[in-house]
Symmetry: C2
Subunit: 325 residues, 2 copies
């Protein structure tokens, strides 16, 4: 890891924060609600407190502090000995110190995710800018060249005109090739015409190259925001790459619709070999990382992913992106 | 967040794992080593145990289990009451349940970092491939066009030859422009000639455009691995962008050297306004994210970053990347 600039222990932040105060009584209540505070109901409440703690930005160290304070009070009621209470508090301090590196690692990850997402967006913007430039410059300059050829051609003999036509063909080829590269970098059509035409071109291209029949089925009206369009395009692209590489499928169907609440639903269903989702995700190999990558792109736009896959049944990705505000 | 496929509580993994067994006695020893186990020495040992726990892959839940077992035994020695021991164990279970969401969030982050890094590498490879294609296709096809023009020119009148020269100039301009775009995407020179020439071209370009004098000072021999070259190039690029945007500097000096152990050291020093490192990193705005982005690129190659910056003194980034195996 890079140098940690906020060095030293974090335990000083562990006490007395305002956010902690209201979780404390909640924690005490939940722990004392049942005579056996390790039964199912109590454990569910504990789990819920953890979720709320994360949502309120309460760190590990604060949570551990709360726990030890509640524990010390509970034990004091049992034993009447003030030594017990003192001992638990001291043990709590010790424990919190051993949790500090976990808290720091967690912060490090959280910052890294933030930085990597931003890096990714920057790269996507750069790619977009350059893809458009390659596309436009290629078009404009080759148009200028063609005009110049036409100017030359007017005064030329028939045999020269034949050669100029050949030259024109070379320039056409150059333009086609550069537009193809620009498109691979980032489909201009995605920015100009929107997600559906871009997905159709993507589907045709993949069908042509791989032989897998890819169908796009949608009656979506209007265009999602650029971020959502980019995310969905890259997700479908990644999903189709996975299908072609691993699924041994003959058909893929991409469905896209908006529900009554304005949420976008995208289904990607193939009739391939299928796989065991949990195993794949836990292996973190290429395929697993592809799926995690899809989830990551979805996280960036607040979306969720469901995967259904069975051997012999094929695979379906179901994506939902909530309505944008 | 995307759907969590491993749903439910994780507390079943919290007990009896082999890795836990050897941390338990260590923890007990450290906690009992001094009469007051909340003194400085004890807390330092606790912190060290946390670091080791992370290194050994011991999760939060396991650590909390160890703590409560040690605590239960310690309290039993004080009170002789078996109810105390029982109570601590039950409270421990409860606490572990409330830690579960933290553990899951941590895993989610850790997976996201993994996925985002892989996404980033994939994008970098794609960019590299297409930058090379744009560069090569542009060159080859325009070469073919120039050959064709020369063929036409041999049979043409002097006035036609003048027009063909103009045509040639348009094609030259097209080629220059496309090579520039390809270079912006990813310097071909980085892959063909290596890091130092690529940094020199980068430095010249930035000097020309911004007026900041950028000097590259190195006697580095041999080429680092492609990953390290890409990381260092992008880091210097990001650092120089930051300097030009925010530092109000006149000079930047980039130094690159290898030490006796084979580790790479790269210093980037400007004479600009300087800033407060901790404040900037904690703000997480553009500048802060730039630095975190640099750290992230370094993490991917096992490198570290030190930042020294003072108002009026300027800023120095010191980067170290260990020798590759």
């Amino acid at each position: 890891m890079g140098e940690v600039l906020t060095s030293g222990s974090l335990s000083t932040t562990a006490t007395g924060l305002p956010a902690v105060r209201d979780l404390g009584p909640l924690y005490a209540d939940a722990m004392e609600a049942t005579p056996d505070h390790a039964d199912e109901d109590a454990l569910q409440r504990a789990y819920e407190i953890g979720r709320q703690g994360i949502a309120r930005g309460i760190g590990l160290l604060e949570l551990a502090t709360i726990h030890h304070e509640v524990l010390a009070r509970a034990l004091k009621r049992i034993s009447e000995s003030s030594r017990i209470e003192e001992e638990v508090r001291r043990a709590g301090k010790f424990f919190i110190e051993s949790l500090s590196p976990y808290e720091m690692a967690h912060r490090g990850f959280s910052e890294a995710v933030c930085a990597l997402r931003s890096l990714n967006e920057t790269m996507e913007r750069e790619i977009q800018r350059i893809a458009h430039s390659v596309h436009n410059e290629a078009g404009q300059l080759l148009d200028a060249a063609r005009l110049a050829i036409a100017g030359v051609g007017r005064d030329a003999s028939p045999s020269l005109q034949g050669r100029l036509r050949e030259l024109g063909e070379i320039l056409d080829k150059a333009e086609t090739e550069l537009r193809r590269l620009s498109h691979e970098l980032r489909p201009i059509i995605l920015d100009d015409l929107g997600l559906i035409p871009a997905l159709q071109v993507l589907a045709e291209g993949i069908s042509r190259r791989s032989g897998v029949i890819v169908e796009v089925d949608t009656c979506l009206k209007g265009r999602p925001s650029p971020n959502v369009e980019t995310a969905l395009y890259r997700i479908v692209q990644e999903a189709l790459t996975n299908v072609v590489r691993h699924a041994r499928a003959s058909n893929v169907r991409i469905q896209l619709a908006r529900d009554a609440k304005g949420a976008l639903h995208c289904g990607i269903r193939d009739d391939g070999a299928g796989f065991d989702v949990v195993t794949l995700l836990s292996r973190k190999e290429r395929g697993g990382l592809g799926l995690i990558g899809i989830r990551e792109r979805l996280n960036a736009v607040g979306g969720t992913l469901q995967i259904r896959s069975e051997t012999g049944w094929g695979t379906e990705l179901r994506i939902e992106i909530p309505a944008e505000k």
